[in-house]
């Protein structure tokens, strides 16, 4: 079986599992958790494109998430704009902003880039908090309308699950396609040796900004979906802590692995559910996870699973040849 065939099969299997799961969970609270896993997966994949492939760190990605949520929220509550149109506008705005700040910010490297994105994230957070006339400030923005297609309204867990996961699967598929393509190779080349990539003709500066804009676009769309499914948003969800959470999801899952981002998102979304006391320990656990995974399993859990799978396969083959 060729590599491409196998990849398509894995994706179809994953998509089928996703689409079939709600049938076993009708009316369960867990469906709600899965919706969040979907949104977080979108965010983790978006950051992974920037961090895992191009190797550019961003500590302010929650800002684009928030931007998408607020633009959608504001356009649909304070103006009579159709939610789907608002989502597109939110995406464009986020991509546009990313384009504008992308050129100067991506000239920076390493810690300087980290600090700059952190600063950017905090500036956006302050804006969300202070422009009370538009965003409702710390009390948040409520009564955001649900999305709907014709008479199908996305206002319950069942419908929302499919809405979110169709988008998430789409984002995952597009990202997988991208990673196997000329662009994906160029991004990974930038990550491994920027100078060699330039010599090969890769326009590093422009490509970095382009992927930054794509990443922002996807995060904003996730934000828009979040706004329309929650119908209420407040700045708390879009601050530095959440940026760290998204980063941790990407790192745990594995830099450069799309399924890894799903894994990371799933684990970090479920952790607060599983550990009642998690609330107090969350920050410390994120810190520990970042350190331990980076030191001992830099490829993330996905690489750990792959190693395990290889080990098991070799044992099975060993037994077959002995039998």
């Amino acid at each position: 079986m060729t590599k491409e065939r196998r990849q398509i099969l894995i994706f179809l299997f994953f998509a089928a599992a996703v689409l079939v799961t709600p049938l076993f969970l009708k009316g369960s609270y867990f469906l709600n958790v899965l919706i969040f896993i979907g949104i977080n997966t979108m965010l983790a994949v978006a950051l992974n494109l920037l961090l895992g492939y191009a190797g550019q760190i961003s500590l302010g990605h929650a800002a684009f998430f928030g931007l998408g949520a607020y633009i959608s929220g504001i356009l649909t509550t304070r103006f009579p704009i159709d939610p789907w149109l608002a989502m597109m506008l939110a995406g464009f705005c986020a991509a546009g902003l990313a384009f504008v700040i992308g050129f100067p910010i991506l000239k920076l490297k390493g810690h300087y880039l980290a600090m700059a994105t952190l600063g950017f994230g905090i500036i956006m957070y302050i804006i969300f908090n202070e422009t009370v006339g538009w965003t409702g400030g710390p009390s948040g923005l409520s009564s955001i309308p649900n999305l709907h297609i014709g008479s199908l309204v996305f206002d319950n867990d069942w419908n929302n699950y499919y809405l979110i996961w169709i988008f998430t699967l789409g984002v995952m598929l597009l990202s997988i396609n991208l990673s196997q393509s000329r662009i994906g190779r160029a991004l990974r080349a930038i990550h491994d040796s920027e100078v060699a990539a330039r010599v090969m003709g890769v326009n590093v500066r422009v490509l970095k900004v382009q992927i930054f804009a794509v990443s922002a676009l996807l995060s904003a769309i996730a934000g828009s979906l979040y706004a329309h499914t929650m119908t209420f948003i407040s700045p708390v969800a879009f601050g530095f802590n959440f940026s760290v959470e998204i980063l941790t999801m990407v790192i745990i899952g594995g830099l450069g692995s799309i399924y890894g981002s799903f894994l990371g998102a799933a684990i970090l979304t479920m952790l607060p559910e599983l550990l009642r006391v998690f609330q107090d320990f969350d920050i410390i656990i994120y810190g520990l996870m970042l350190i331990l995974i980076t030191m001992y399993m830099p490829g993330g859990l996905i690489s750990g699973i792959e190693m395990l799978a290889k080990f098991v396969m070799s044992k099975i083959r060993g037994k077959q040849s002995n039998a």
Binding site: L178, S181, R182, I183, R185, A186, S193, V199, G201
Partner: protein, 250 residues
Amino acid sequence: MLRLDGINKLFGGLTALEDVSLSVTKRSITGIIGPNGAGKTTLFNIVTGLYTQTSGQVYLGEKNISFFAPESLASLGLVRTFQNVELFGQMTVLENVMVGLHTRSKSGIFSCAFKIPSQIREEKYIKEKGLKWLKFTGLTDCADLNACNLPFGKGRLLEISRALAVEPQIILMDEPAAGLNSRETVELAGLIRRIKELGITVVLVEHDMELVMDICESIIVLNLGKKLACGTPREIQENAAVISAYLGEG
């Protein structure tokens, strides 16, 4: 093919290159030699756009490429390899060569993400070409290995394959023989000759005198940032100034 006119490069108070002018004939194999610190790699870096010269001009054919950024040079047909092999370690050998085809392809983010038919066709083309260049350098068996796992000699060959995938007019090699054993060096010489047969101009910076004298048709000698001599291998070997600059080397 390649012409440098009065290149000067100062780093603060240090003069790395002083009034260096040279020209490289099309389809030739030219060697640039000189003791350590002569400015050879600096010269390469200037030609390939990684450094900017303090004064002077660089011409590729008729085109003045003096201030061009490195990324624009590949599509003009100029490519280089590095002294410290700069491979894309996390990608496979084949993928490394496929990056070389970046300027021979044009699918953008949208086409790649949505896998439109023209992108699928182009991807097939890139892969075929990539395999062809791996075959040229004898690396076909390593195609699916991770580049960081390659032994050093094969890593050098990979860098050359990748550069060839650009389908350049001229390839600049920075110390390609460094770290190779004698067998590998002989194979390298054969490879460079085959590259020339493809019609590609080769310029190499080298310390391995045997290799240089063997394959180069024309040699330029640099010393302390200045051009000391230029000529055929025989002329260089008999040049008194060159001999004294090397103090018995070669």
